[in-house]
């Protein structure tokens, strides 16, 4: 059975026809379900998953067209990274994060950078709120707004890796050491992030480390710190904004 698949690939590469291409698309399409599901996991409920799948389909078709079976790589691995890239690129280009929320995130980061330069340590929420001339509740409300857009929005704001593959914070710190190429950049990134995290406040350090390195859920981290899941969510949002402001400084 693997043989008839190889046959379709060989035939398609020798003479690309719509019919063979469609056969390959239908066979590999469930990979898009996998990628879209994982990306959707970081997004709020109102993001239409069928849209994510259609963005991903473009990545799959692209992968089928560009794949070279002679090079001996596994198609699935190549396809998954193209599909992911296509979905993230499309999300970024439709800029699904409301402008007002982006602006608020930017002003919080600016306040953090400014205060850090003066205090030589991470600013507290009280200090940030004061700098922005808002109440604590208002500042926490901003963290809630940003996080209700889903952690992917934050990860996306932090994506690095100019080398073709866009890495998000989650990928960079993931347990898995997978994927060809970019391995060395990954290790470097991981190092750089570890150093940046090390300089943060105790709470932020704990949340980021447990979430990304130890892979605990927000609720499990809440049990460690003795606070609610939504409080951990706010701390996580603040910590990611802080990381971003430092890495960009």
């Amino acid at each position: 059975n693997a043989a008839d698949l190889d046959e379709v690939w060989t035939r398609y590469k020798d003479n690309p026809t719509q019919e063979d291409r469609d056969q390959l698309i239908v066979y590999y399409a469930p990979l898009v379900k996998y990628v879209a599901g994982r990306i959707a996991s970081g997004l709020p409920q109102n993001v239409d998953q069928a849209d994510l799948v259609s963005y991903g389909m473009f990545g799959l078709i692209d992968a089928i067209t560009k794949f070279d079976p002679e090079r001996g790589f596994k198609f699935e691995t190549y396809a998954i990274s193209r599909i992911k890239g296509a979905v993230l690129d499309e999300l970024r280009s439709i800029d699904w994060v409301p402008r007002s929320v982006r602006a608020k995130a930017k002003s919080v980061e600016r306040a953090m950078t400014k205060l850090e330069a003066v205090l030589h340590r991470a600013p507290t929420d009280e200090e940030i709120a004061e700098e922005l001339e808002m109440t604590m509740d208002q500042l926490l409300g901003i963290y809630n707004q940003i996080s209700s857009l889903g952690i992917v929005a934050l990860d996306e704001m932090l994506s690095f890796g100019g080398g073709g593959e866009s890495l998000t914070l989650g990928d960079t710190l993931a347990d898995r050491q997978d994927g060809p190429g970019g391995m060395y950049e990954r290790v470097e990134m991981r190092q750089m992030l570890a150093e940046a995290i090390n300089k943060m406040s105790e709470r932020a350090k704990i949340v980021l480390t447990l979430y990304y390195y130890e892979n605990l859920t927000l609720a499990e981290i809440g049990n460690v710190l003795g606070v609610t899941e939504s409080r951990v969510c706010q701390i996580h949002t603040k910590a990611v904004l802080q990381l971003r402001s430092r890495l960009q400084a």
Partner: protein, 158 residues
């Protein structure tokens, strides 16, 4: 703690592969299901629409159980490992690629049989995955307890 973590990493890598194969088998199942719905004339899809157009609808998930926070867990999109490769191979022997890509040409009987075979495979994947989740979550709650009780500190990781 190192040992616990190593076990978790191992389980997570297997879980990631199983989840991938589970998702793939669900996708196959839903594509086959869509074809049989189309034949029975139900469901609004017009008989001439190639399955390609309907894929986004077919492959998207139902709503997650309410109360799930987006990003509750750090999730990465990884490359499939050995476990996934082996399982996909065995799925391919039950549901051949040529059958899947030429689904309109199958007889009603063959279609139904294909559906059943993929469905029992999916059920098995989901059950293994549930068991792995229980094991991983138990390890995670023990790891969490050690951090809470001060037996472990994040400084050792950083």
């Amino acid at each position: 703690l190192e040992q616990l973590r190593r076990i978790r990493v191992e389980c997570s890598q297997v879980e990631s592969d199983i989840s991938l194969v589970r998702r793939v088998s669900q996708g196959r199942l839903d594509i086959v299901g869509h074809e049989s719905t189309r034949r029975s004339g139900a469901g609004g899809s017009d008989a001439d629409t190639p399955v390609l157009f309907d894929l986004p609808e077919i492959l998207s998930d139902g709503p997650a159980p309410s109360g799930s926070t987006p990003g509750a867990r750090a999730v990465s999109v990884g490359a499939p490992g050995e476990v996934a490769a082996e399982l996909v191979k065995s799925l391919d022997t039950m549901a051949s690629p040529s059958a899947l890509s030429n689904i309109e040409t199958l007889s009603d009987g063959d279609l139904r049989e294909l559906f059943e075979r993929i469905r029992s495979f999916e059920v098995e994947m989901s059950s293994i995955r549930r068991q792995l989740h229980e094991r991983i979550d138990a390890i995670q709650s023990e790891i969490g307890r050690r951090y809470r009780d001060g037996e472990a500190s994040v400084d050792s990781i950083l």
